[in-house]
Structures are given as C-alpha cells and as structure tokens.
C-alpha cells in the first residue's frame, strides 16, 4: 500500500534533519520556493486534500478564502491540539518525523504569505514540544527558516505554543483565543478566521496531518496525489486504531481498503483481540456515531463499507457514521455500550467551555442520566429523555462540541437501545457487571 507520510517514519535517526534530508526531505520545499505562492494553493486544490482534523473541508478551498488586505500580517496556525478520544495520529507523526511537519509548515506559510507561523500543541505532549523545537532549531541552522529562506526572499519563523489541557482548544476559534492567551472559549462566527483570526488578522488553521500532506503533494504534484484513493477521498489518511484489537497503532491507508480488511488483516489491526467477536466500532474519533458490527462492515444497502469519507458516511446518521479524525475505536463483544457512552458523556461534560447554555447544562444532564442507567438506577423514560436532550443540544450551540457530545449518545440509543433497556430492567446485574448484552453482534465471517 502506498505510503506518503509514514514511509520513513520508523527509520533510525529520521527525527533529525540529516537523516530526514538523506531520505528526500526538504526537496519539496526547494521546489515550492521556486513556484508562485498561488500555484501552490492551486496544487493543493487539485490534489483534493481534505482537512484531516475531522471536518474534512477541502484544504485548497480553505486557503483560497484567506483575506489578503495590504499591510496586515497573515498567519498560519497548525492545530496540534489532538484531543479527540481515539485519535493519536498527529502525535505519532510529530514524535517520529517532526521535520515532515516543519517542511509542510514552511511550504504552507510561503503559499499563504505567513511570516510568523505557530504550532499549537496540546500541553500534555510536553516531550513533543521539545522534539519540535529542536527540529525548528535544526531547520533554522540549515537555512530552511529565518530570513531569506534558500535565497528566495521569503522570511519565516515557526513557534511552538503549548496548550494546557482543554479539548475545546481543538476547535479553531477556541484555539486562536487560547493562542492569544485567553480562556479557550470558541468565538461566535462569522467572522471566520480567514478574515479575522489570530489577533484579528487573516488566519488559516490546519491540522498537523493536513500540513504534512502538503509535502508529498508538492513533490508529486496535486494531480498525481489526486489519483490515489477514490472519489473525493484522495491521497492517504492516517488512522489511529485502538480498543480491542490485536495491533493498536497508527496506520497510513489509501482509502480504498474495506473496513473489514482494515480490522482483520495482519497488515493493520490484526483482528479482534483474544479471539473475541467484533461488537461495535466508532470509526472516526469519539464524536462520530458508533456503528454495530453489521452496519460497520456493510452499508444498509448491503454493500461493502470502505475506509473513506463517502463510504463511512453512507446512509447518513441513520445507518452510517463519519471519517472524522480517523480515531478508530473497536469494541469487542464484552464491552458495554452504555458504559462506554457514559465515559464519553463524562468527557464532553468535562471539556465543555461553559459559554453557551445547551452545552454547559445539557452535557452534565446527559452524563448524570447515563450514570444512573449504567449503575442500574435508570428508568425506561430516561432513555427517551436522553434522546430529547441530545436533540436539543445538537445544532443549537456556538461550536461543534455540542454536536460532538450529542452524536455519541444519539447513536448509542439508535443502535443499542436494547442494551439501555437491559440496564433498566436488570438493575442488580448492571451494577455487578460492566457490560450489558454479550454476543450482541451477529457472528461475522473472518477474513482469511
């Protein structure tokens, strides 16, 4: 399978500039600096690259929205606040091949005209801050950063800004607030960052993987990049797989692989751990709808489901899910969906910034009801109440955290209502056990 980002990730010494360059590093930058900035944006447009942070918005289009008023600085900010449960791909990339991100940052900064770019990284990744700062220092010493980069006349500095523990700062306007030294309260949009972003200047915020993908795009051309993958899911995507699988880890896929292959083949997840059966999966980070095994592997139409944007969302929320950030969480037959949903509700309650009322109040309410159901104190009417609360949060909040909190609850009830009911009907047993209905999933044929 083609690898564009992680091909050299496991090579010894790739963390350092010398080895990185020996493996073809910084060639894209040299090429890019000879191009006109707008042509780079054009290449990114042609490549069909979509934002890898979760929303999947076309990156080239986002770049083209950047306002360019005269005498106003523009900023590129890299979103490395990776906090979506199930997602740890950016960490892997930054930890092992930091120069790929730095190279992508310099090329993107050049394309957007940003002379001062920031990497906002979650504070908990403290050792990666050091790795990145070291990589930046190395790049500077070799003339890839600083004044007049490689004689092109382009000046650029990159700074690493650590966060301090707030999931909400992954939302781009909350991230900008945080970068300005404030509480991570998402801004009310419009205006969008492309017009008024960091310190009120036009700003582009892109995910780590998105920026890293610019390097191979420049190297191979947008048109070549677009040939990889299928439909509007072009290029490669990093998937961080976790949960009850034999081989958790970060994998680079080209989006033509089926979900079934991804879970069961030895090249990737290596099947369900301990010989258990697949019960359910959250394919794109904890916010996206959970799918039971049958709907995960096949769409409602009975077609094979693939690991790409379109196929994963086939059927809408009724029978589908989302690609999201690529955080692939697998649950085996022993896992309790109610308990899992409860931990997620706890997470979103804890991470709500508290600005708008549906999220501030609704996330806590959902958590409390889920805790009751999980511990055998729930009522049948609680299930309907939960449904109603999530429907009143969704779409009515300032930022997408409200949706992110509502969707997991909605999907759990949609697909696993009997498990909620089981908890209500078997209060004693649900207090003793961590899980509800074992053997929920229909038995599935393993890929040989």
């Amino acid at each position: 399978m083609v690898k564009l980002l992680l091909e050299n990730a496991q090579k010894e010494g790739i963390r350092f500039l010398k080895t990185y360059r020996e493996n073809g590093g910084y060639q894209s930058l040299e090429k890019a600096l000879k191009m006109a900035p707008d042509n780079i944006t054009e290449e990114v447009k042609v490549s069909g690259l979509r934002g890898r942070g979760g929303a999947g918005f076309p990156t080239g289009l986002k770049w083209s929205f950047l306002a360019k008023p005269e005498n106003t600085p523009r900023y590129l900010v890299c979103n490395a606040d990776e906090s979506e449960p199930g997602t740890f791909k950016d960490r892997f990339l930054m930890e092992f091949i930091p120069h790929l991100l730095i190279e992508g940052m310099i090329i993107s900064s050049y394309a957007l005209g940003s002379n001062r770019s920031y990497i906002y990284i979650r504070g908990e990744y403290a050792w990666i801050v050091d790795i990145l700062r070291q990589a930046i220092e190395e790049a500077k010493q070799n003339g890839y950063l600083g004044k007049n980069i490689l004689g092109s006349g382009f000046d650029c500095e990159i700074f690493v800004h650590p966060g301090a523990g707030a999931y909400i700062c992954g939302e781009e306007t909350a991230l900008l607030e945080s970068l300005e030294g404030k509480r991570g309260n998402p801004r009310i949009k419009p205006p969008f960052p492309a017009v008024k972003g960091l310190w009120n200047c036009p700003t582009v915020v892109n995910n780590v993987e998105t920026i890293a993908a610019v390097v191979p795009i420049i190297k191979m051309s947008g048109a070549e990049y677009a040939k990889i993958g299928v439909g509007r899911s072009t290029g490669t995507k990093l998937i961080s797989a976790c949960g009850n699988i034999n081989k958790p880890g970060v994998y680079e896929i080209d989006m033509t692989i089926s979900v079934e292959d991804f879970i069961y083949s030895d090249e990737f997840c290596g099947g369900i751990a301990n010989g258990k059966k697949l019960k359910a999966c959250i394919p794109g980070g904890s916010s996206v709808p959970i799918l039971p095994a049958n709907l995960l592997l096949k769409t409602a139409k009975g077609e094979t489901r693939y690991m790409n944007y379109e196929s994963l969302s086939d059927g809408g929320f009724a029978t589908g899910s989302m690609m999201g950030s690529g955080g692939f969480i697998v649950l085996d037959e022993d896992q309790c969906v109610v308990k899992h949903t409860y931990t997620l509700a706890h997470f979103y309650r804890h991470e709500s910034c508290g600005q708008c009322s549906p999220c501030r109040e609704g996330t806590g309410w959902m958590e409390r009801i889920l805790k009751n159901i999980e511990t055998g104190k729930g009522k049948m009417s609680d299930i309907d109440l939960l449904w109603d609360i999530q429907s009143k949060i969704e779409g009515n909040t300032i930022c997408p955290l409200g949706d992110a909190a509502a969707w997991p609850v909605a999907a759990a009830i949609r697909h696993f209502r009997d498990e909620f009911e089981w908890h209500v009907l078997n209060p004693e047993e649900s207090q003793k056990r961590n899980y509800g209905l074992a053997n929920y999933a229909s038995p599935l044929a393993l890929v040989s």
Binding site: E82, F88, A126, P248
Partner: protein
Amino acid sequence: MVFSEEKMNEVNRLIASYPQGKQKSAILPVLHLAQEVNGGWLSTEAMDYVASLLQLDPIEVYEVATFYSMYNLHPVGKYIFEVCQTGPCMIKGSDDIIAYIKEKLNIGIGETTKDGMFTLKAVECLGACGYAPMMQMGKTYREHLTREKIDQIIESCRSMNN
C-alpha cells in the same frame, strides 16, 4: 515566588515569540514555568507574579489558570499519577488501574499521600488510546500499564527520593 535568571531568559524568549504588545499570548507557557518552579501548583502569589511579568490584571490570569486542566490550583505531591479514564482507556481496563493505585497508595482520586509523595488524578483522553491503559507522569507518558508496572513505577519513585 520569583524566577531565576535562567527562567527569566526563558520567559523573555517566550514573549519574543509573539508580536510586539501581544505578550498576553505567553500566559500559558509562562504559567507552566511558574507551576514547575512553585512545586507543581499555582498559588495566588504565583499567578499574581505571572500577571505582573506579563503586565496583565490578575483576574485575567485567574480566568485562564482555572480554565485549563493542567494547572493545579492546590498543592500536589512530588509525583502526580494522571490516569486516563476516557472510553478507549476504559475498555482496556483503566478502572482497574485506578482502583489498584487507590488501594496501593491508600488515597482517593484527587488526593495526595500523607508523605507528600504521590497525587492521583483521573484525567480525560491524553491521546495515547492505542497504548492504553496509560497515565501521564510529569512530562512523560507511561503506557500499557499493568499492576506490575504500577508497582515498579511507585518503587522507582520512592528509591529516587531516598
């Protein structure tokens, strides 16, 4: 609390990474430094000091320090076990790890051992879901935790302190 000359250089370097007049942006990294110097937590005095360094009203610092979960607003132990309890870690047995640490150190979540050595915190997703169960200890992550690993970690902390 005051920063040493070396720390002050660090602060100035941080401030310089933002445009002129935007020193407020340095608040998160400078608070991290203050917490480190102040024994792992932010006292009112420490926050007021940061406010004066960055020319901010103290309330602006309080607002920020109370928002982010990495800042401790009460004294903590020398070693902080921050065990992740979110979904992916939960299904890999984080409950058991937390229960074991509680039992072993005889403290509850959010509490510190009497000797001031260990604090236990249950935290939310740290981005190590594939290496679950896990916890953060200072600047590093301890992953694929088992009871035996917890024993070893506690033992090595104690021996380092002796």
